[in-house]
């Protein structure tokens, strides 16, 4: 067993915390499990690909230009330093779990050395400002991303410190953080892109240095007073239109809003600020009550990467940025730790298995930035804003390294503890080895989840303990047995079934989560999918792909009969596909609009095969849709 490596987000002992995270290394996913396989692909394919792209894109060279190792002008986005930092963070989490990866260790050490060389004598570090416009330091915060990049540097250093790698990173990050504290404790300024807030709290957690926490809180409270120049997209884009304590709705650029909310929860729990926590609850209700896609994606607008209006959830023009899915997962994790309420874990699961998982190709080296729920027949996918297929990299490359850091640290998000027990949030085959209240606990899990709803947990503890199992929101009723004996369902509270007993002799809990195919209907105010249903099973959203249609059929003419039975089947490498009954309904008229009585469509029956959304676009490229219009007679 490796040394215990804390994962992302470790609140202080004094913090508000219904639940405490386990160490990253306390949980291991079985290699053949879906999450284990994803982590393997991330380690062997995605992470090395990101490291390669840091060189190919010029992001590392920018920092080498600051040290003088390399000549030439700054390349790439002005915030490309953050690509380096996020990849570093991913590498640190990965090394925390697999410390023997020499190539990765070499990347971390050499990059840490590069950063130690690149940082200014006074502690400042930003290659774009230093190389391109040194006189503008801190002068264009609405757009410069200086504190955003600093935040990602800090997060990388926190990960490295927790994982015990890249020893130079934390001192470098602290030098920059101390400069930021010195500067921003005295002037009223915030960054256009939140990230520094949550990073400073995490740095406080690692160092115990209170000024980091104080500054994070100061940034939260300065924001919303119109300090930022909002000329391009308006102040709501920057969440600068209203102080977060008073905000009634999520607004603006989704990733900015969600990173801000991660910081809100972090500051709230560390400072026992109920008003801030209330704000987080209120904005959560808005986001998940009216502004979230069925896949967990958020953000309806391409133009400003923003949440749309309430119920504005077009499937074809869903923006659903990959980073927003990750940010939602991270925000929900913080809410879960603070409250212990399973609805946050439900949203983590929804996002993880749908929008986040779907953003990476099975080869691990191609990615979606935007994650639509409908790719139209005739779609012009020629531009990276809405390509028809996953691309190897993006001119704004925030998403791939963000995926790498999330997946590398995924085992840190699956299970928590409290004073009396263990809570299982994400189901996957594997093992948990930890201590609860000083006593050793071992849980070994066998399951094919999410393909199958049967989860067997073999528990061995030294002392009595409450094992809490999440009852997913999608599962109205489950069967639970301990060593074969049924357990009363009355024990479910806050979405968890709590089993309190003495496990010292070992016992096996069998959780059976029924996974029938389900027909999901949208709220009637979601105009964009009126008259449609979606097919889901367990936590997975399904979709139709052109690849499974007969030649010549236009996907937009396909209908599903929501009343017909849906069968579960296997298709090549896809463990579970859904077979539904549907029809082709060819329009009776080519007219775009008609005032005459509706012409009956030419209808013929069609057997439908729906595949998991997260696997779309891995076979033959082509149209895809999640929301399926129902048959006229259905």
């Amino acid at each position: 067993m490796t040394d215990s490596v804390p994962g992302p987000v470790h609140p202080m002992p004094t913090a508000i915390a219904a639940l405490r995270p386990l160490a990253l290394t306390d949980v291991t996913f079985a290699p053949a499990s879906l999450l284990g396989e994803w982590q393997r692909r991330n380690a062997t394919r995605t992470l090395p690909h990101c490291v390669d792209q840091l060189d190919a894109s010029g992001a590392l060279d920018n920092l080498r230009r600051v040290t003088g190792e390399v000549g030439g002008a700054h390349q790439n986005m002005w915030f490309a330093d953050s690509d380096v930092y996020k990849t570093l963070e991913a590498a640190a989490w990965q090394l925390g779990r697999t410390p023997d990866d020499a190539a990765l260790r070499s990347f971390v050490d050499s990059t840490a050395a590069l950063l130690a060389g690149a940082i200014d004598a006074d502690g400042y570090l930003n290659s774009h400002i230093t190389l391109v416009k040194p006189e503008q330091r801190w002068q264009e915060l609405h757009w410069s991303h200086e504190l955003y990049c600093a935040g990602h540097l800090i997060q990388a250093a926190v990960a490295a410190a927790r994982a015990g790698v890249g020893a130079e990173l934390l001192p470098t990050a602290r030098r920059f953080a101390d400069l930021i504290v010195a500067r921003f404790s005295a002037v009223d300024d915030v960054d256009g892109h939140p990230e520094i807030e949550t990073a400073l709290v995490e740095l406080y957690r690692v160092t115990g240095h209170r000024p980091y926490l104080d500054l994070a809180r100061r940034f939260l409270d300065l924001r919303g007073h119109g300090l930022l120049n909002g000329e391009r997209f308006g102040s709501a884009y920057l969440q600068d239109h209203v102080p977060v304590r008073r905000a009634q709705a999520v607004a603006g650029h989704v990733v900015r809003q969600l990173y801000l909310l991660a910081g809100v929860v972090d500051v709230a729990v560390e400072t026992h600020d109920d008003e801030l926590l209330d704000a987080a609850h209120r904005l959560w209700d808005d986001a998940f009550g009216a502004k979230t896609y069925l896949t967990g994606a958020q953000g309806s607008r391409h133009r400003d990467e923003a949440f749309g209006d309430p119920y504005e959830l077009p499937p074809d023009r869903a923006y659903g940025e990959t980073c927003a899915g990750i940010a939602s997962f991270q925000w929900n994790w913080r809410m879960l730790l603070a409250t212990g309420d399973a609805r946050y874990a439900d949203e983590m699961e929804r996002a993880l298995h749908n929008v986040i998982a779907g953003s990476t190709a099975l080869d691990g080296t191609h990615f979606f930035y935007s994650n639509p729920l409908h790719l139209r027949t005739g779609h012009d996918g020629s531009h990276e804003d809405a390509p028809s297929q996953r691309l190897p990299w993006y001119s704004c490359a925030c998403c791939p390294p963000n995926l790498a850091r999330l997946v590398a640290s995924l085992s840190g998000y699956a299970v928590t503890t409290d004073h009396s027990g263990l809570q299982v949030h994400l189901y996957a085959a594997g093992t948990v080895e930890t201590t609860v209240d000083g006593s050793a606990v071992r849980v070994s899990t066998r399951t094919d989840y999410p393909w199958d709803g049967r989860v067997e947990l073999t528990v061995a503890t030294e002392a009595p303990l409450v094992l809490a199992l999440r009852m997913p929101g999608w599962c109205p009723v489950a069967d639970v047995r301990v060593d074969g004996a049924p357990v009363q369902a009355g024990a479910v509270r806050d979405g968890y079934l709590r089993l309190r007993r003495d496990w010292s002799g070992g016992a096996t809990v069998t959780l059976d989560l029924p996974m029938p195919a389900r027909v999901v209907r949208p709220h009637p105010r979601i105009d964009a999918v009126r008259g449609c249903v979606a097919l889901t099973r367990g936590p997975l959203v399904y979709c139709l792909e052109q690849a499974d249609l007969p030649a010549g059929v236009t996907l937009e003419d396909v209908r599903v009969d929501p009343a017909a039975p849906i069968a579960v089947d296997r298709l090549a490498d896809i463990p579970v596909v859904l077979r539904a009954r549907g029809a082709i309904e060819q329009p009776g008229s080519a007219a775009l609009y008609t005032a005459s009585a509706p012409t009956a469509p030419r209808t013929e029956p069609l057997a439908l095969t729906a595949v998991p959304y997260f696997l779309w676009g891995n076979r033959v490229p082509g149209p895809m849709r999640v929301w399926l219009p129902v048959t006229t007679t259905g």
Copy 2:
């Protein structure tokens, strides 16, 4: 009677032309008619407002900086010269009709003098390049708008020449045009924003100087070979992805595409280029077959102001730029002249009375840039990208002066002639006085169109003549009488009823276009409005506004019963509103997505009042929608 002033687009005698435009001054709309009132508002409110804004926005000062009259740095958009030119063009058309407007004449003369002073010795004129980056002249054509601005200068000069005002303008524009001919006949370059093409053809029409036409054709044929840097939005945004002769679909930035297509028709008819004309027909079928809103608006995407995919027509996120509606009108006018087919006039009418008319407030000084078909409850209208109300001006101010030039010249688009007769395309009370084949013709029209479908035309001619009356596409059957005697409907061809007779004694044609309220259904591939209908009457699209709902009702909960009768009524200043039967259907569950059986909504009947779309947002600001979900039981 004033001197005869040709209006926009006057093909040469040698051009392909099924129809010939009348002079702007041949047609007069009655002051109390909808179009006459619009022209009055344009002349007294919109045009002076635009002139004022040229000063307030700094657009005129930029040109004064070139001459040295004013100091300081260039202000406003880099293509703000075009605001000046479009306002000049509007003023020229207005003076062509009302030559005694001294203030307007003074604006034209002083601005013409300013431009004559600002033009470089070599004929170059662009305030942004000259003031900000003179070394970049012609170097950044993908984004610089140099030829775009030149095109609008030329259009203004053409208008001034036809109207006989601003005598300095045409020589100035020709100096610039001659420089452009000299430069671009030798290098393979095109502008990122089309406009120069149609402008050069119009300049050829005014001057007879063939090199202008040749260069326009050259620009059309150079485009589509990837000459432009398409890094920001891709080459399709610039219509540089495929030569227009081979293009199968409209694509990219809508205004760019439509201005290009205006140039395509202009060059095709002047050079008898059937291949180009075929391309225009093909792209028209695509645009109006799958990419046009019910209001005539085009462009589904805010991000790149682009056409969306086929059938991607979200009503809430409709971009529908005002300038695109105007460009569509202008392209259809060219198609109409070339072919004589009424479907182009139908699209002119649809755009004019809906998207274009709706873009200006009744006060004449507030405008929509984007024209959605649904403003949601809870819409964040805080930014000028999608404001909840019309704004007095925009940071990119292309639309208001574009409206001013269209409306000032509107009488040039209503009626045409050919060798044997007169064709009436747009119905409005007023008079036509012209000559056909050398003989005087006078038509006096009485009608309340578009509020009423009865049109009485009193015709007096010196010689026999074919009077062709457009039978609108929305009107399946009409009643036509001459001096009370019914006319056989068999005489309709290409959408026109043709009445050939000797009108020398005078005769009155009575056209009765039935205008029942109609329930319009969308093509089933327009997913965004599935399960919805729209209410229309005559050429007018109707909408629901929050102002007409009981307090506390959410617009998105309102349903319409499409089978119930719809009554026609009057409401305050609105001559015709529609009274329909509907319901409030409050969602049975607040859940965003649900897999349980659909909960029946709480339903109560509701009497609906629909108002003309073009009048929305002129009373109490609030939500609005064109497409109405039908009652669950409807």
